[in-house]
């Protein structure tokens, strides 16, 4: 196969560059100097650069960069693989590359030529110079904290009447830490720079050397409200390496848990949005539904966050059919209640006044910033891993992506509401057809590598796993939040500072899932 796109032969890469085709990727090895030219060509094909990650080759200490592209109407990801010591920055072609490159510079010490922003990303001032934790030569052990703490330089905005509002890392609410640096004129936001990395726990390094089973527990600790999504994503990558066929009942139950997680997670977002416009009666009703769904989670799996249920080769224990039927009643009632609450909230003028035209994410930003999930769908793009790159049950039982056109807080509120209704409808329908049988496949650990993608409540989560000598050699992860934070920086521009909380909540991105 030389043409990447079946329907278009103009975009073709030499056949001798093709190194691998598997269930999720088509991989080409690209000569060092050609990557920029090829990336430019790809841009003409409605492509998104969705991830860059790096691996270190044990045999010769060389570095390999993996550029993961998503092309319209192409089911598999196009991966360009480059062996390099001195990479060039792709920021001018794909702006989303900037933060991926900074993460690689932190982790491996590779400098990207021509990069306009070479500040550290997840390594804060405490980390010493030339400390690159993801290098194989660095042992995962406590470090000596650096004394010469060079302060992080924020983008400076100057002009008459411009002043700065620093917020965080400890916020007023019960939320995760991050720093927001606003540049403001009067009340209008002129610029926002988001600095994260406070929650960097070294998840990727932590996984190295662990058994593939232990990796599931690490993946589900990435972000508490997308634990099933991350655990599934990791498990799917490992299953691809081990050529394990997940039994049908486990495939169905995984989809069940993925949608259950989406439901309670998005219900939190809905409650948060109405809280931030001071509509606490609606927030209370939404929180009641959220708690109801979390109690269903606990009843089915023993964990209110569905932790511990996903395992390699299936799920860790079966759920009795009668229990599934029993909770279906509850979930159907949640659905009916939610319909009522949504139409009530959307008929209140003071809510519409605050939601409408607030925090608009413009559609042309979606491709350059590699946005995904509800943030992209509320701006009119039907991007959804479940339909673009179907996996598991979604291959045979699709769930059509929903969209809204306005891109503002109102659009995201309405879309997330619709998505919860759709997820609940999907699982209550599903439960009638769940096949019987085992939920766990036998497997033997073997070496290899693979990439997997899932649609988490926040969007596209990607995961790369490589197993060497029976244990994890590299575990790399990119959650939807990593790219979607950029949408927040753009969405707040021209809005007033008091609207920031509701704009932030309308996206409700994960700090822990970004910092890893």
């Amino acid at each position: 196969m030389t043409g990447i796109l079946a329907h278009d032969s103009t975009l073709s890469l030499p056949a001798e560059w093709l190194i691998r085709e598997d269930a999720t990727t088509v991989q080409y090895r690209i000569p060092d100097e050609r990557i920029k030219a090829i990336a430019e060509t790809l841009l003409a094909f409605e492509s998104r650069l969705v991830w860059i990650f790096c691996t270190e080759e044990a045999k010769d200490d060389s570095f390999v960069l993996w550029y993961v592209f998503e092309l319209a109407e192409m089911r598999r990801y196009l991966v360009l693989v480059q062996n390099t010591q001195s990479p060039v920055s792709l920021v001018n072609i794909y702006p989303a590359a900037s933060r991926f490159e900074r993460a690689i510079t932190d982790g491996f010490g590779l400098q990207f030529g021509g990069s306009p922003d070479s500040r550290r990303l997840f390594l804060h001032e405490a980390y010493p110079d030339k400390f690159h934790p993801l290098r194989k030569s660095v042992k995962n052990a406590p470090i000596t904290v650096s004394d010469s703490q060079i302060p992080f330089e924020f983008r400076s905005m100057e002009g008459t009447g411009v002043y700065q509002v620093p917020v965080g890392p400890v916020h007023a609410g019960i939320i995760e830490p991050g720093h927001f640096r606003f540049s403001v004129i009067g009340e209008d936001i002129l610029n926002l720079e988001i600095r994260l990395g406070y929650l960097h726990r070294g998840i990727e390094k932590l996984a190295e050397g662990c058994s593939p089973e232990k990796g599931v527990r690490i993946a589900e600790s990435v972000s508490g409200d997308e634990s099933v999504a991350n655990a599934c994503c990791y498990a799917m990558a490992v299953e691809q390496i081990l050529s394990v066929q997940v039994p049908p009942r486990a495939v169905w139950l995984r989809a069940y848990f993925l949608e259950l997680e989406r439901s309670w997670s998005l219900l939190s977002d809905l409650a948060g949005m109405v809280t931030d416009v001071a509509f606490s009666t609606a927030a209370s009703r939404l929180l009641i539904l959220r708690e109801t769904v979390q109690r269903v989670c606990e009843r089915l799996t023993g964990s209110r966050f569905l932790k511990g249920i996903i395992g390699i080769g299936g799920i860790s224990h079966d759920i009795p059919d009668d229990l599934l039927v029993e909770v279906t009643d509850t979930l159907m009632k949640v659905r009916v209640d939610l319909e009522g609450i949504l139409s009530w909230v959307l008929s209140v003028p003071s809510v519409i006044d605050r939601f409408s035209t607030t925090g608009v994410v413009r559609e042309p930003l979606i491709d350059p910033l590699a946005l995904s999930g509800p943030v992209a769908r509320a701006s009119g793009r039907a991007l959804d891993v479940r339909s673009d790159h179907p996996y598991g049950l979604y291959e045979t039982h699709p769930i059509p992506p929903l969209t809204r056109m306005t891109g503002d807080v109102l659009g995201r509120f309405a879309l997330k509401g619709d998505e919860v209704l759709a997820s609940l409808a999907y699982i209550t329908e599903l439960v009638r057809q769940i096949p019987k049988g085992p939920v766990q496949a036998e497997y033997e650990v073997c070496d290899g590598d693979a990439l997997a993608a899932v649609e988490s409540p926040r969007g596209r989560n990607l995961c790369y796993v490589r197993i060497c000598d029976g244990s994890i050699d590299r575990f790399a992860l990119s959650t939807a939040s990593f790219c979607n934070w950029m949408a927040l920086e753009h969405a707040v521009l021209g809005n007033i500072v008091p609207d920031f909380p509701v704009i932030n909540k309308s996206m409700n991105l994960s700090y822990a899932g970004t910092d890893l």
Binding site: A126, N140, G173, L199, R201, K205, Y511
Partner: protein
């Protein structure tokens, strides 16, 4: 009265009601209220600090204020600033990025102050212990008065933890 409004709003299906240990939560709450009255004089103010959690513990702490639990009626409030707080609820293993912020938050909290570590990682460091990115559990950085384990602890477990804290506070 409270229960009437709740049950009206909840319209809880029967099976769920039978399962929910709400009565245990209610009686723990009433006991805690009596203790808070005696030890702190009517109310306690809690400031939450996330130092490396996966957000699950934050969700459960925030849940305490949601309608099913509504702990404000027992005299417990979550406040926006450490300067208004009696208690710091710290979650997650302390990362290098959050160490300084945690110390500053602790210093900004007026005496007498109490610190509770919420969740397994905050209590022991969990699987992160001995790795490059973390300083250690919360008590490696600031003094801790009480540890509430769990991945994450449920709202009921956090409430019971606060009840234990009252005994610690009485002795101080």
């Amino acid at each position: 009265m409270n229960m009437n409004i709740l049950s009206f709003l909840l319209k809880k299906p029967k099976d769920l009601q039978a399962y929910t240990p709400d009565s245990a939560f209610e009686s723990a709450g009433v006991m805690l209220k009596a203790e808070i009255d005696r030890v702190f004089g009517h109310s306690i103010a809690i400031r939450e600090v996330d130092c490396g959690s996966d957000n699950a513990a934050e969700i459960e702490l925030a849940n305490l204020s949601a309608p099913h639990y509504d702990v404000e009626r027992f005299g417990i409030t979550f406040v926006a600033s450490p300067r208004h707080a009696d208690i710091l609820a710290v979650t997650g293993v302390v990362t290098h990025g959050m160490k300084e912020a945690l110390i500053k938050t602790y210093e900004a909290t007026p005496e007498p102050k109490f610190v509770i570590a919420v969740g397994d990682d905050a209590c022991t460091g969990g699987m992160y212990i001995g790795t490059y990115a973390v300083v250690g559990p919360v008590d490696a950085v600031i003094p801790v008065d009480l540890k509430i384990p769990g991945n994450p602890p449920t709202p009921a477990a956090i409430l019971e933890g606060l009840l234990t804290l009252m005994n610690v506070a009485k002795k101080r």
